[in-house]
């Protein structure tokens, strides 16, 4: 007998449908426009550790096929809309990531992403709180800087130690054989293996002021202690990474530099080199309004509100039955 049955219960699917309606109502009330950008793109995401799924497009029967990439998030296309004058926009759509499968991962999942012109990351955190608070039964979500988070759970501040210290600290807690000279690798290991399990005891927490080296597409600024930090935040709920937001980078030259930096890191690591989205750079050059944006995993939000152990329990058919 094949595994034809859904991985979610009908009750979980009903809650999923209610979630979609709730999100659309939330943004309609706030006058944020829904958009649906293409799932297939001629360009791929630059992040070295996010692998796009490739598809072959045939222009006509027998024609030369070209490689397209399934979106890993609608970020680039939505920023082009913002630059074209869309105003506040949101999108709730399927995104695709190669190789990501586990209790909390499925290679295709539903992402909610939105942008608010004129907001900084603090104002956007307020809005995230307003969206997820009622679903999770939390009123106010604590905000902790990345540095304070490490100080609280590991007793040191990452900006004050060198890579040798980070590596030793990680190897004290984690049994792994790994040669890596990127401090961010060790910081991420400490977050996922040591800090996240301790965050399980907290209902929810925003982690703010990420290291500048982990800015992705956030602005970098100098904080109160004189350190360069990314205007980036992440929301963790019961130790699960639920959302990632930025006070968005709008400088097109810096955008170009970061794309090139990602590409050279890909080259160094022997990862596939894919077409960078020059249209994004062009859009920023034209002018993207100062704004904050965030991406939130809808399936994970459903896992949390349904107390599900596995992401498969909240989607009709997980990867193995798709």
């Amino acid at each position: 007998m094949s595994n034809w049955q859904p991985t979610a219960s009908m009750d979980a699917l009903r809650k999923r449908a209610e979630m979609f309606a709730y999100v659309r109502h939330f943004f309609a009330k706030r006058d944020v426009m829904e958009v649906d950008t293409p799932v297939m793109s001629h360009c791929a995401v630059s992040d070295p550790f996010i692998d796009s799924i490739e598809v072959q497009y045939h222009p006509a029967m027998g024609g030369e096929p070209s490689t397209l990439y399934l979106q890993t998030s609608p970020e680039y296309a939505m920023k082009r809309l913002l630059s074209a004058g869309s105003g506040a926009i949101y999108q709730m759509s399927k995104v695709f990531r190669n190789g990501e499968y586990g209790h909390r991962h499925n290679p295709e999942f539903t992402m909610l992403e939105w942008y608010q012109p004129g907001y900084d990351e603090q104002q956007l955190m307020d809005e995230v709180e307003a969206l997820v608070g009622p679903l999770l039964g939390v009123e106010q979500i604590e905000r902790v800087t990345y540095s304070d988070l490490f100080q609280r759970y590991l007793g040191f501040r990452p900006e004050l130690v060198d890579i040798r210290y980070l590596k030793n600290e990680a190897l004290n807690h984690i049994d792994i054989e790994l040669e890596d000279n990127d401090p961010d690798t060790w910081l991420n290991l400490l977050i996922t293996h040591v800090i996240e399990p301790q965050l399980k005891r907290l209902p929810a927490v925003f982690v703010t002021e990420y290291p500048a080296s982990q800015a992705a597409l956030a602005k970098v600024r100098v904080n109160a202690n004189g350190n360069k930090v990314a205007a980036r935040f992440e929301l963790f709920v019961n130790g699960i990474e639920l959302a990632n937001g930025y006070h968005e980078l709008t400088d097109f030259r810096e955008q170009q530099r970061r794309l090139d930096l990602d590409q050279s890191q890909r080259e160094k690591l022997g990862l596939p080199l894919r077409p960078l989205d020059q249209r994004l750079v062009d859009a920023l050059e034209h002018g993207m309004p100062d704004c904050a944006g965030v991406a939130l995993g809808i399936d994970r939000l459903l896992m949390l509100s349904n107390s599900a152990v596995s992401i498969a329990e909240v989607m009709p058919f997980d990867h193995t039955r798709a």
Partner: protein
């Protein structure tokens, strides 16, 4: 032996770690949104029984362990080793105290058990989830006391002592859950 890559890992897979055969108890894909992917595995060392977590890089490979679970019949104990027989080939293997430690209280001759062989040698013996064993010693049963709670110790044919309801008598055969060591019912 073959190698397994981290993307093939799954529960129950047997691999060699630091020279010992280990079984994967839990496999978790770990990846922060913007960071590298890792696979965190809870492992049980099949020689020592130790359970711990190890993290593997994406694409890291590990040698498979020549470990096989076979169904065998318990034959006898010679004072040093416990002997098990393959019902198809009639081949016998002798397992030491360490390998039978968990199964020992439930081993009855001719019962089928799972014997884990590593390079052909038994390293673990797992009894069936439920066994039926005779009570060889217990206080006399109390008539009519079937509804009320309360329990008493009873010694079974294998020497194991379990808590049983007060109405159980010597000579009765009981069904026992070997995972918890608890009385289930009369057989």
């Amino acid at each position: 032996m073959a190698n397994f890559s981290s993307n093939q890992f799954k529960n129950g897979m047997k691999v060699m770690i630091d020279g010992d055969p280990c079984s994967m108890v839990d496999v978790e894909f770990v990846k922060p949104g913007k960071g590298q992917a890792f696979t965190r595995v809870k492992l049980r060392n099949l020689m020592s029984g130790r359970i711990w977590e190890r993290t593997f890089k994406s694409g890291e490979s590990v040698e498979a362990a020549d470990v096989m679970d076979t169904t065998m019949e318990y034959s006898y104990y010679d004072g040093e080793l416990w002997y098990f027989m393959d019902p198809n080939t009639f081949e016998q293997v002798g397992a030491d105290e360490n390998a039978v430690s968990e199964a020992k209280p439930w081993l009855k001759e001719q019962d089928s058990v799972t014997v884990t062989l590593f390079n052909g040698n038994p390293i673990a013996v797992t009894p069936p989830n439920f066994v039926e064993l005779e009570v060889v010693e217990t206080d006399p049963g109390l008539k009519g006391d079937t509804a009320q709670g309360g329990s008493k110790p009873a010694t079974l044919a294998t020497g194991a002592v379990v808590r049983v309801p007060l109405f159980i008598n010597q000579g009765e055969v009981l069904k026992i859950d070997t995972r918890t060591g608890e009385y289930v019912s009369r057989a």
